[in-house]
Symmetry: C2
Subunit: 516 residues, 2 copies
């Protein structure tokens, strides 16, 4: 039986992931170590995610801006905790000219910068410097901005989309008069992220607060959305940080209150990256390639005309193009349906497999018989296989197919969500009471990050929320099993048992898992 | 008489430009030398330009992608001519880590990169490297891609939007089977740029080919759109390059033809940058600030409620918000009208002036009398002043104002274009026949680039299209007057006189001007 990929999730999940990225033509490694080339199909997904998120960022009162890529080194020295967290992984510009010396193109030693410039690993420092100038009085608050930008963080082990030295993201930065307002903002944007992940990416998540040791460097609180991949591991899909007043203090962001006092601002930051595309792959991909939720599919309906270098080809092509045009006149998810006729040369069976791997929700094949009968034969990518190991296709009168297209796309969108939601809900164990049980359940961790491990899912357990040295002990014990605390879900039970780690009275429930 | 700015175009154009950028709150200089912070109002303009251009780039068959920011130094060594043109102005990453040494945050000397990485000054080299891998056969051609990205070119003298060390742009890169197809692409994208400049930015341009000495480094032909600023200088607003086969040769981009031969591709590249915003300012700004063409105005109708801390405030605010909601339900230029209620605290007269400086096409002030009469009092930003040195406002019944809003915006859009078009057409002298006349007309150039010079406009003259050393002489003579050849317009007369520089028979007409 022909399949879309030469790799399966079961046999080797990491290898399967690479195969999907390659065969769905999403991205490739570049000659620059750790940086990727995002190809049209992958970038198209990112543009749709951007569109959905950008609309929501604006609807919640934020405005887009653009800050410089290169940040003076001295800016990082101002905020000690922050430096500590990022100091090990930044690209540093030290020269501003190349020169030909002894016939070789080289860095011009005479063009050394007085102060090195860091390629932004995140923009709190340079945006905070502007906030210092922009904020004068309580009337200027809240100050709500966002930017779409590229980020560089030197990474030793990279994996396309999931961890790359350069990635694309949005970073929101806001300043508020008090803790309450800043915390409300932090949670508001977490909720926006949850909505985009679940509604658009059909990727169910758990919203919650990160433990102290997993906070953004310098933050008072970090919240995340965590999604479960098909190998049971967790993917942190977005974070939202309440930064307290520490960044404001380091950068002197103060405002005059209504009563005339000079007060420190409370700031927040929050971001989502191209890593999300990795999450989509590992949530919805199958052994034939990618399956895209319709809302973020660059093409929702791909029409493959079956051409045989015969006179009837013209009619087949005209029928396919007429169908695409009519579909573009229909709205799905409040936007015109994205329909494409694949007119490339080549065998239609090869083209069908190419699209199966790329994962548009619906694939239509048009042959002379469809034209004659005025019908449309379509394949649902989310339900590819029918009986007898054959690809399942459905025939419908053309007008009926067009009239039902939007509803079918909506059904596929919610079906993919339901499938992923069932996986998430069904694979969080809540019956583990001791660290020994935890260790027995997850078993020893493989040395190699890419090694295939049995599906375990997550564990939801109670802890006493230790901090400092006591937390370090918990972290190290979990680390020995390659486990981390993902977050403490926002929705908590009313009664709690004792802490799994310390035996003390429980303070909250947390999610423990292996993660990307 | 109160005016929007403390600067006039007449008194000091450079100073006026800075005042508009500042007072319209478009951008500001950053702590990073030569890089700017694009503020919400400026970035909003850029987003609208992006939207209009992106739609056209896709409609002409291109797909968006994303390539790495950092390019290995060796890539630049491959293409000698290209290096020559850019070698003097690149930011170079030499290290990948910071470290605290002797208590000081500094570049970690142990983290020196084996090969320096250049922050992209343009992406031909790294995209060409991918084209080498992606192109196999004639079936893969044309290969049509585009990316929206940030660019760094070290600049010594910078001016916000016009020349900055970092800027935003799109760069299109394409590969074709032959010269004819590549040249057609180059001119197709030039036409897209003309359309966006004239239709959306209301900025008339002349399309034409750059002389040999002004070509993109390594290109066979460079085309530009040139716009006339209100001080008579030219602004190169976009370029489109036919790169011949030289980049393909340097990077080995070859394809197998239908007859089985291995052939070099012909490539193109084309770009438009945030510099366009500088062009909008210098085309449409006046002594009260910016005037925005409605198609690229982040807000098209700004409603200022006149609030006086009295009970009727609530009614005024409700009326203003109802008006904004109704306007948002109307389409202008095929998109919902962008209407904003300015609810910030502060005197309404101050807020009105603030908006006059920022330049939305229509400003509405709502007071209790408007509410009582059910009318709308509006100011057209393009016709700000009425009789007796008073700001001109027009009253209309509310329903009439809403029904006429789209037409009014269209009228303002075409009015701004007509005004700029008349300036361009009326200020190209075509009666200058010798270099002496040219020198006498333009007069000696000021030493300081920012010095205010009398309005001269452009000169259209005939030349023999010299090349090599002969062209160098022409270039130097023009340079002594701070003049450059802008382009040879695509539309040429049928008969030509002798060359203004050499006296030889004329080959084509060119535009000569001082420029940004």
């Amino acid at each position: 039986m022909e399949r879309g990929l030469n790799a399966t999730r079961e046999a080797d999940f990491a290898n399967w992931y690479q195969a999907v990225v390659r065969e769905a033509d999403l991205a490739e490694t570049s000659p620059v170590r750790g940086a990727m080339i995002i190809k049209p199909w992958g970038y198209g997904i990112w543009e749709l995610i951007q569109g959905e998120l950008d609309r929501r960022i604006k609807a919640t009162g934020h405005q887009n801006v653009y800050f410089p890529l290169l940040i003076p080194l001295s800016f990082f020295a101002k905020e000690a905790t922050h430096v500590e967290g990022f100091a090990k992984e930044m690209a540093v510009v030290t020269h501003h000219r190349l020169a030909v010396i002894d016939g070789q193109l080289t860095v011009d030693p005479e063009a050394k910068l007085e102060e090195p410039l860091v390629v932004r690993p995140t923009s709190e420092t340079i945006i905070g410097d502007a906030f210092h100038r922009w904020v004068r009085s309580y009337r200027d608050l809240p100050l709500l901005i966002n930017q779409w930008a590229n980020i560089v963080r030197w990474e030793m082990r990279t994996r396309l989309f999931l961890r790359t030295s350069e990635f694309l993201w949005q970073e929101g930065h806001t300043a508020h008069a008090d803790r309450e307002d800043a915390l409300a903002e932090t949670l508001r944007m977490l909720e926006v992220y949850r909505d985009v992940a679940e509604r658009c990416l059909a990727m169910p998540v758990v919203t919650g607060e990160k433990p102290e040791n997993e906070r953004f460097p310098g933050a008072d609180a970090t919240y995340s959305i965590e999604a479960m991949m098909q190998d049971g591991k967790a993917l942190q899909a977005a974070t939202s940080h309440y930064l307290g007043t520490s960044f404001a203090e380091a950068q002197n962001i103060r405002y005059q209150s209504e009563t005339g006092e000079l007060r420190l601002c409370h700031t927040t930051s929050w971001g989502i990256t191209t890593r999300l595309i990795g999450g989509v792959i590992m949530t919805h991909g199958d052994d034939d390639g990618l399956r895209l939720p319709p809302m973020i599919a660059p093409q929702q309906i791909v029409i493959v005309p079956i051409l045989r270098d015969r006179p009837e080809d013209a009619e087949v092509l005209a029928y396919a193009e007429g169908l695409a045009a009519e579909l573009s006149g229909v709205d799905a998810f409040r936007q015109p349906v994205r329909a494409l006729v694949d007119k490339r040369p080549g065998r239609s069976a090869d083209k069908r497999w190419d699209w199966v791997r790329r994962g548009p929700p619906i694939i239509v094949e048009v042959g002379p018989r469809d034209v004659a009968a005025g019908q449309v034969t379509s394949i649902r990518r989310d339900r590819l296989w029918g009986e007898n190991e054959r690809i399942a296709s459905t025939g419908a009168p053309r007008s009926e197919f067009i009239a039902g297209a939007a509803a079918l796309l909506a059904e596929i969108q919610s079906g993919l969500y339901a499938e992923a939601k069932a996986r998430l809900d069904g694979n969080i164990r809540a019956d583990i009471r001791s660290f020994d049980e935890l260790a027995a359940y997850f078993g020893p961790a493989a040395e190699d990050d890419d090694a295939n491990e049995p599906f375990k899912g997550w564990v939801r357990c109670t802890w006493s929320k230790p901090s400092g040295a006591e937390l370090d002990v918990v972290e190290q014990r979990l680390k020995s099993l390659k486990l981390t605390i993902r977050n403490a879900p926002l929705v908590q039970p009313t009664a709690l048992g004792p802490c799994l780690f310390t035996g003390k009275p429980g303070v909250e429930e947390i999610l423990v898992a292996r993660a990307y």
